[in-house]
């Protein structure tokens, strides 16, 4: 059988790897994928504790996370595409200047 704390530790590792990716990479697409991994780690914790406490509300929260991630990916990729059409470079520092 699984012990729930090992699953939570796996989620912590995935979250940390995603955070390192967001902080280290400069390509906005790869940063976005790393943040998707962080969303997934949070969903994994919700599902693990739903299993431990026998309460399905945790799974509803994981469903909410999935929907939020889908909406976020749509908006974020639209922003990346429109910035790329203006600047023609895939670099996150282009967005940091915030000038049109």
């Amino acid at each position: 059988m699984i012990y729930i704390n090992w699953v939570v530790a796996l989620a912590a590792i995935l979250f940390t790897v995603g955070a390192i990716g967001v902080m280290f990479r400069r390509n906005p697409l790869i940063m976005f994928m790393a943040s998707e991994m962080m969303w997934n780690a949070a969903a994994l914790v919700f599902i693990a504790y739903a299993r431990e406490f026998h309460d399905m509300n945790g799974q509803v929260m994981a469903f909410l996370i999935m929907g939020t991630a889908a909406a976020e990916v749509g908006i974020g990729l639209a922003i990346i595409v429109s910035v790329y059409h203006k600047r023609h470079r895939l670099d996150i520092d282009e967005i940091s200047r915030m000038k049109g």
């Binding site: 697409l29 969903a43 990729l77 595409v81």
Partner: protein
């Protein structure tokens, strides 16, 4: 237990592949591997519906969207990262995030959970169970997701508007002028035909 270990190793390997791959396409494929390993892990945690939704929504829809954008933006580009503007921040980011990771993992392991062998309630994690919650006491979350997805779709349309109407009108007017010239004006077709004859003679 061994299966869980293999899935965990696959998930971590996929995660490390995402942040170390040089090209975004490779990152996307590593992320698919990570998501599929997590979906199998969900299945093992008795979350059947979420495992299937993970495969369909994440590995299907979201990753296809990512791959579309990757092929749209990075086809034929050099894969080198641009020169650094903010030198020195990277080292601090690494130190801080590794410390945060160690603390998180230590906290997760420190408090041991109960071993999971108690019998689960009926319909735990399958479509009936989650449907009863989503259309019952947790209906507000379903409405929230619906509003969020609709506003995201509208936001995408605002950020990347379709072709302007004026541009389309100008193209239509140009096409109409060309048709008129071909039908009504005698000079242009004659010139074309003489050109054709000269071309044949030569």
């Amino acid at each position: 237990m061994v299966g869980i270990g293999i899935l965990a190793v696959l998930a971590i390997a996929g995660a490390i592949g995402v942040i170390t791959a040089r090209q975004p396409v490779h990152s996307a494929l590593y992320l698919v591997g990570n998501l599929l390993a997590l979906a199998l892990l969900y299945l093992d945690l008795q979350a059947e519906f979420l495992a299937v939704a993970q495969v369909i929504v994440y590995a299907g829809a979201i990753m296809v969207l990512f791959l579309f954008v990757v092929t749209l933006l990075t086809a034929g580009k050099e894969d080198r990262e641009p020169p650094e503007d903010l030198a020195g921040q990277r080292a601090w980011a690494g130190i801080v995030s590794i410390i945060v990771g160690i603390v998180l993992v230590a906290l997760a392991i420190k408090y041991p959970g109960a071993e999971l062998k108690v019998a689960l309630p009926a319909n735990f994690g399958n479509l009936q169970g989650i449907g009863r919650l989503l259309w019952g006491p947790d209906f507000i979350y379903l409405v929230g997701i619906a509003i969020m997805l609709l506003s995201a779709a509208l936001g995408v349309l605002v950020l990347n508007p379709p072709k302007r109407e004026r541009q389309i009108e100008r193209q239509l007017a140009a096409a109409a002028r060309a048709r008129e010239a071909a039908a009504g004006g005698g000079a242009v077709p004659k010139a074309e035909s003489t050109n054709g004859k000269e071309g044949q003679g030569a």
